[in-house]
Amino acid sequence: MTDDVAVRVDHVSKSFRLYHERNQTIKSAIMRGRTSVHEDFWALKDVTFDVPRGSTFGLIGSNGSGKSTLLKCLANIYFPNKGTIEHFGKIAAMLEVGSGFHTELSGRENIFLNGSILGMSKKEIASKYDEIVAFSGVEQFIDQPVKNYSSGMYVRLGFAIAINVDPDILVVDEVLAVGDAEFQAKCFTKFRDLRAAGKTVILVSHSMATVKEMCDQAAWINHGELMTVGPAADTIQAYEKSLTGGPEG
């Protein structure tokens, strides 16, 4: 059974504290004798699904529905309050491209730094260096400090690094929207290659066209609850129906 599952999300719930009054100082903690007043907000409620190995899996839903939260749980950045997430294989997440960049350092130096934050060894990075630079298309500026990059170049370089981590499971949160058409096409080709190599891709997108084109499976999350999961076409249909068919529930 586990042979064909890449990620198993099992009854996962995640709550955040919504602070009415957040006292983040020693002074107020001492003077009032308490640090904060908060209430729990459940961003994910009892979500359960499996992501089949080798599939491209889409996550859809309106803003604030909990998609990014779920991806962060997958990526070990948040830890669920209830339930478990198991993944079978090396996982790499691209939640925000280039977040590990140091603006004063050059593109070259950042490739090595960011690569190692993503868990690559120096040797690995060195061997993939040319490929990364070629994919990013910023050869000409590679020795410039990245603060002089355009936002598209920033994303290109970050994506090129992340995609070369060579994970079994790649988790992508709508980061592609910034790149131009040429770069998006490049990325889609890359996703297809990954799938052909038996890797799993989980991606969040608000573009139904992208999901339709890329994904074979999809899940729709609404207000932290899993609405439907299954073949992409069916999930998208259900989601779009809820949008057009009067006020969403």
Partner: protein
């Protein structure tokens, strides 16, 4: 144990982050690395003027080195202290400063404060190297003491790392920890024999005898400060060129290990929630 393995596995990342700190710091400045000497140099000038020249802090010649230079004597204690203060100060903010990274990428978080230890240690090493050269020119025979010097430097790094780990977590919950720390560090520095010799404290303490009818003396209370022992060992090795008491070594070792273990426990407990609370 598994945690230590995880930290060890991230050593390459640690090295890269340390380099990031070092390179980012003096990048695009004319004098580059020389800037790291500016601060201790300025402090030495001012302390030498005030305490060496105006107050005339009594200075015994180094035994057996025979040195009698206030500025050098001062630096042997000042450089370890400024290293410690730097690590604690910068380490404290290391998690908050990298909030963006913590919320977006998974990696062993402990490398963030540890990279501060690394980059500060790099500067410190540079400063100590210069000091060794100057001491040698001034006539001290420091070369044979270098292996021991490295040992005590590592112990101080470990001690500072533990404190930085604890404070970095505290700063996530209480953002004003920094202000408290700057006050504490100021007091702490004057409670450490950096600009005055330890022998003065001992002399005064002997005059006073036991406190409140007990056998506890001022010197005993004073000795609770771990930096007293670290500075003492540094001075004896560098300035006096003599083998410090075994007791002093053991005290430093105990503080270093205790601080690191406690720091790692505190850090590990809170590490998982960092992305949310930041």
């Amino acid at each position: 144990m598994r945690y230590l393995k995880e930290v060890f596995a991230a050593r390459e990342l640690l090295a890269n982050l340390t380099l990031r700190e070092i390179r980012g710091k003096y990048k695009r400045t004319v004098f580059g690395q020389l800037w790291s000497l500016a601060n201790p140099l300025a402090l030495t000038l001012i302390y030498t003027f005030v305490f060496g020249f105006i107050f005339r802090v009594p200075l015994e010649p180094g035994d057996p080195s025979g040195l009698k230079v206030f500025a050098l004597w001062l630096l042997c204690g000042l450089l370890p202290w400024t290293f410690f203060a730097n690590v604690v100060n910068l380490g404290l903010g290391s998690l908050v400063a990298n909030a963006n990274l913590i919320q977006k990428v998974y990696f062993t978080r402990v490398v963030l404060p540890l990279s501060i230890v690394g980059s500060s240690a790099y500067n410190w090493l540079f400063e100590m190297g210069v000091l060794l050269v100057v001491l040698t020119i001034a006539g001290a025979f420091v070369l044979p003491w270098i292996p021991l010097l490295i040992v005590i430097m590592i112990l101080l790094m470990v001690f500072a790392a533990g404190v930085a780990l604890m404070l970095s977590i505290a700063n996530v919950y209480f953002r004003d920890t920094q202000y408290f720390l700057s006050i504490v560090l100021q007091i702490w520095m004057y409670l450490t024999p950096i600009i005055y010799p330890l022998s003065l404290v001992e002399a005064e303490s002997d005059k006073l005898g036991g406190l409140f009818g007990t056998s506890i003396t001022v010197a005993d209370v004073y000795g609770l400060n771990p930096m007293v022992h670290f500075v003492n060992v540094f001075r004896q090795l560098l300035y006096d060129n003599r083998w410090p008491d075994l007791n002093e070594w053991l005290i430093c070792l105990a503080w270093a290990v205790g601080s690191l273990v406690l720091g790692l426990i505190v850090f590990r407990r809170n590490e998982k929630r960092l992305a949310e609370v930041l």
